[in-house]
Each structure stands twice: as structure tokens, then as C-alpha cells.
């Protein structure tokens, strides 16, 4: 069974703040839920399915159902890191198709600028079966992306200047976003002169750390037909795990090599049909490898593909992350998947900033990468379209 057209995104909301010292995590979840439901023209009483991931405080949906006063018939706390919220859209569409839900709420929130990592996150690092074979070496998140970047450079001749083009494009978009954490346009030289963090990745190859969050409301076609708001059709979703593979890790690709084809097949479209992409951008290298894996260019060609403003909206060949992405706008709770979906919804509604709105945007792709590029990850690809796509 295909999920094509089984559900629509009726509400999308991104928290406007990037530094939130005066809210609890549950409170931010509630604020984004209010925002997304208002956007959809619905209320909490209408919600019959709730989705949250590892950022939700306490016992996830158990705690959040009480806090929010939810009385749903479907709960799902699928945790795949930063890609969780793309997975949730697919799972919500499946639940709707199965008749187990008609109005699904998905929330993400966190305040890493102001709170310590949750005890759950630390426990995961320490209790994972692989932990002692990776935690003794003074590793870091950026190092686990740098390893992939270094290998990509070795195999394909990718350069730091090519990676920098991705940050430059994001910054060109972010200047138009009044809520973006970083609104200054940067140049390739700016990126190359920023401090090295873990070779070959520099500070400006890294995403921002922000408080905040976002929420989505996914509804059945029947509900969508009753709403005044422009709804976005779910065309296809794929997910895949990619990991160390028993010691045969290949650093040159991500799980997108599997999640992408699954999503494209379900959606019945190809890369040539995609008008806009939201690509997970924890680091510049994440974007470059993902674009290759999704088939927008051949493996190893990513460095050349991103040159000449190809990613710059509105007139580049493949406009990406028009909100400024995680590199400049927002990476709330250290999880960039939610904002990837939200900006794709804006583009399909024609509600992106006019300076970056892609003309006649009919089909958009959002992609999330949860976990770590050099060890293990969960990738999810979501393809969305306008209502009659």
C-alpha cells in the first residue's frame, strides 16, 4: 500500500525564539502545539494522535499527554534523533490510512542553550552497546562528521571551499528571516577563515545551537477538505538505518541511499520533479553527501554540484533550506528535522519569504539525518506536494 495522498499537513509552526531561558521544555512543546493547531484551524480537543521523540521531557507521550490534556487513540514516540519528525509524518499518514487517527499532532522542543542535556541523552551515550568502543577517544559530534568529510575529500577531491558554498547559500537565505540566529551573509573566505574545530570542518561548517521547537498537524483527506487552510499533501516517506555494519562502515554515504528511493517510489516522482529541498544540515558535509545519496548528482560530484549558486533561492537549480536551515536559522533542541518539514510546507503554500519563495513550487523534498554521519544514523526522506500534486 502506498501512503501517497493518505494524509495532509494542515498546520505547521516554528517557535520564533532562539534563546529561551524562561520556559520549561514542556512549556515550549505546548507553545508550538498551540501554534500549529491554530495554523490548521483546529484545537487540542480535535487531536486523536500524538507524536513526540527523545526531546520530550519525562516519559515522552505519557508525560506530554497529561501536560497537554490529550485524549488520543494513537501515541507514537519513535525516536530516530533529528530525523524523528519526518518519520512521524510518515507514521501518522500510515495511522490515518489504517483508520487509527484523523488528526495527528507532532511536537519538538528543547532549550540546549539554557539547560543541561537531559539525563536520558547521557544515559543513551553510556548504555549503548557500542559506547565504550567510541567514548574513550575524546570524540565529539563534529568529529564524527569530520571523519566522513575527510574521507569524502580523499576519495572524490571535495574541497573545503566547496563545503563552504553550502554555508554561503544558507546565509544568503537567512538574511531574509527575522528570526534566524545568524542573519549575516557570509562568503567562502569567511567560512575558510573561521577556526578549525575538527579537520576539515570549521566553525562555520557547523549548525547553530538554539532553543525552540516546532510542531505539525497531519490530518486525513476528509479533515483537510473541511479546513480553510491550504493543506500540503504527503506523497511519500522512507526511512533507513545506516551504521557501522559490523565493522564495515563506509563513510561515503548515508542512509539516504535507501530512504530516498523508498520515498520517491511511494510518491511516484523523481529528482527531476523536485522544486525545493530541505536537506538536514547539521554540518555542511551532511548536505553534500545527502544530495549525492538522494540522486540529485552522482556520488562524488557533490562538491561541484553545489557551486555557482545552485542551492540559492529562488533561481538556483535546486533551492535549499530557504529559512537559513540549521546552519544559520535554527536547530532547535539539536534536532533539525522538524524545521526541515516546516520550511517545505511554507514553500508549497507559497508562504516562504518573497525573496526566497520558489516560483510555482509544486513538489518539495525534506530529508532528516538523525545520529551521526561516521557511526550510526537514522535517515528519513519525506516528499510533499501541493494539494492537487
Amino acid at each position: 500500500m502506498s501512503l501517497r495522498g493518505a494524509a495532509f499537513i494542515a498546520g505547521a509552526y516554528e517557535h520564533p525564539r532562539r534563546n529561551i531561558p524562561d520556559r520549561t521544555e514542556a512549556q515550549i512543546h505546548a507553545e508550538v502545539a498551540v501554534g500549529a493547531l491554530a495554523d490548521a484551524g483546529l484545537s487540542f480537543a480535535d487531536v486523536d494522535a500524538y507524536y513526540c521523540a527523545g526531546d520530550a521531557p519525562g516519559f515522552g507521550p505519557i508525560s506530554m499527554a497529561e501536560y497537554l490534556g490529550l485524549k488520543c487513540r494513537t501515541y507514537d514516540s519513535t525516536e530516530t534523533g533529528g530525523s524523528s519528525y519526518l518519520v512521524h509524518v510518515g507514521h501518522a499518514a500510515a495511522a490515518i490510512a489504517a483508520g487509527h487517527a484523523s488528526i495527528a499532532l507532532i511536537t519538538l522542543a528543547g532549550a540546549p542553550r539554557n539547560t543541561m542535556p537531559s539525563p536520558g541523552a547521557a544515559a543513551a551515550f553510556n548504555s549503548a552497546p557500542e559506547s565504550e568502543f567510541e567514548n574513550l577517544w575524546g570524540s565529539s559530534i563534529v568529529a564524527q562528521y569530520a571523519l566522513a568529510a575527510q574521507r569524502h575529500m580523499y576519495e572524490f577531491g571535495t574541497t573545503s571551499a566547496q563545503l563552504a558554498e553550502i554555508k554561503v547559500a544558507a546565509s544568503i537565505h537567512a538574511q531574509h528571516n527575522p528570526n534566524a540566529m545568524l542573519r549575516d551573509v557570509v562568503t567562502v573566505d569567511d567560512v575558510l577563515s573561521s577556526p578549525m574545530v575538527a579537520d576539515p570542518l570549521r566553525r562555520l561548517d557547523c549548525c547553530v545551537v538554539t532553543d525552540g521547537g516546532g510542531a505539525l498537524v497531519v490530518v486525513s483527506p476528509e479533515v483537510a477538505a473541511t479546513l480553510p487552510r491550504q493543506c500540503v499533501k504527503v506523497l511519500g516517506q522512507g526511512e533507513a538505518a545506516k551504521n557501522g555494519n559490523g565493522g564495515r562502515v563506509d563513510l561515503t554515504h548515508t542512509g539516504a541511499v535507501w530512504s530516498g528511493p523508498r520515498a520517491f517510489e511511494e510518491a511516484g516522482v523523481t529528482v527531476a520533479d523536485i522544486d525545493y529541498v530541505s536537506i538536514y544540515d547539521s554540518f555542511t558535509i551532511t548536505v553534500l553527501i545527502t544530495l549525492e545519496d538522494l540522486g540529485f548528482c552522482a556520488k562524488g560530484e557533490g562538491g561541484r554540484f553545489v557551486l555557482d549558486g545552485r542551492l540559492v533561492a529562488p533561481h538556483g537549480g535546486l533551492p535549499f533550506n530557504t529559512d537559513g536551515g540549521g546552519l544559520c536559522n535554527n536547530h532547535p533542541a539539536n534536532r533539525g528535522g522538524m524545521t526541515k518539514v516546516i520550511e517545505a510546507v511554507r514553500q508549497l503554500r507559497g508562504e516562504a519569504h518573497p525573496a526566497v519563495q520558489v516560483p510555482d513550487c509544486q513538489i518539495a523534498l525534506a530529508h532528516g539525518t538523525g545520529g551521526s554521519l561516521a557511526t550510526r544514523m537514522m535517515s528519513s526522506t519525506l516528499i510533499l506536494g501541493v494539494a492537487d500534486a
Binding site: F133, L147, Q150, M196, G247, V249, L251, A374
Partner: protein, 147 residues
């Protein structure tokens, strides 16, 4: 390496469990003991009592050569926690000559000279009891150094 020589990078005793005790005990006797699947013959990294290639629960530890090459690496310019003052240092994927690619540090080298394809050998570094540093090491961990 003299097992009572203090390593340059921070060490701590690894947490052992039922699946990994044999591996870590192997390090203390300067052996890289990695499980091999009894059913399909694949070497399994990270060490576990299960074969992710065929689903078998029967594995047998084998000693590897400790020789390998650098598959990828990064020079970490800013360390955290115990590594706060250790930068710059090298985190690498080492491709062992028997196949598995494993993460560790490259030590005993100028970080700026490390490169992909570089030949390296395992070194077992002692973890000493800080209150009794003259005692025999309480554990050992594996790192790599240029051949």
C-alpha cells in the same frame, strides 16, 4: 609499550560487561581479541556475542594482528571533558588488515602528518589506579601509532 608508562592522552578503565569482558581483558594482555562468527566466519566489530551478518549467537574470539591503515581521521582542535587540554589530537578510523574498521586515536605522531592510507600498529596503553600508580595497571585500552 611499558605497561606502567603513562599515556599522553587521557585514559580511563573501560566499563566491561558480559559481552565485552574478554575483549578488554585481552587488551590487558596485549591482544586484540575480536569475535568471529562460528556460522558464517565474519569478524564482528564492535565485540558482541551475536553475529549481525547471519544472526548466529555462536562466536569465538580470535586474536588479530593489530596492523592496519588509516581509513579516515580528524585532528580535534577543541577537546571536551577529560580531553579539554589534550588538543590537538587525532581521532581516526583504522582499517585493520583483517577487515574491520574501528575508531581510536593515533598517538606518538605529529597530528599534522597523519594521512589516509598511513600504516599503523596497535599499542595497548595502561590504565593505572590513580591512588596507587605504582601498582600493575587495572586495565588497558587500544590506540594506534604509525608503523
Amino acid at each position: 609499550m611499558n605497561m606502567n608508562e603513562q599515556p599522553v592522552l587521557p585514559t580511563r578503565a573501560p566499563q566491561k560487561n558480559h559481552e565485552t569482558a574478554a575483549f578488554w581483558d585481552g587488551c590487558l594482555s596485549s591482544q586484540l581479541l575480536v569475535p568471529r562468527c562460528d556460522a558464517c566466519g565474519e569478524l564482528i566489530w564492535y565485540p558482541r556475542r551475536f553475529c549481525p551478518f547471519c544472526g548466529s549467537t555462536d562466536v569465538t574470539d580470535v586474536a588479530l594482528s593489530g596492523r592496519g591503515t588509516v581509513y579516515s581521521f580528524t585532528v580535534i582542535r577543541k577537546g571536551f571533558g577529560p580531553f579539554r587540554d589534550a588538543a590537538p589530537y587525532v581521532l581516526a578510523y583504522i582499517e585493520l588488515e583483517e577487515g574491520p574498521r574501528i575508531q581510536s586515536n593515533i598517538v606518538g605522531v605529529d597530528p599534522e602528518t597523519v594521512h589516509i592510507g598511513q600504516a599503523v600498529n596497535v599499542v595497548f596503553e595502561p590504565v593505572l589506579d590513580p591512588t596507587n600508580p605504582g601498582d600493575p595497571p587495572v586495565a588497558a585500552i587500544y590506540r594506534f601509532t604509525p608503523s
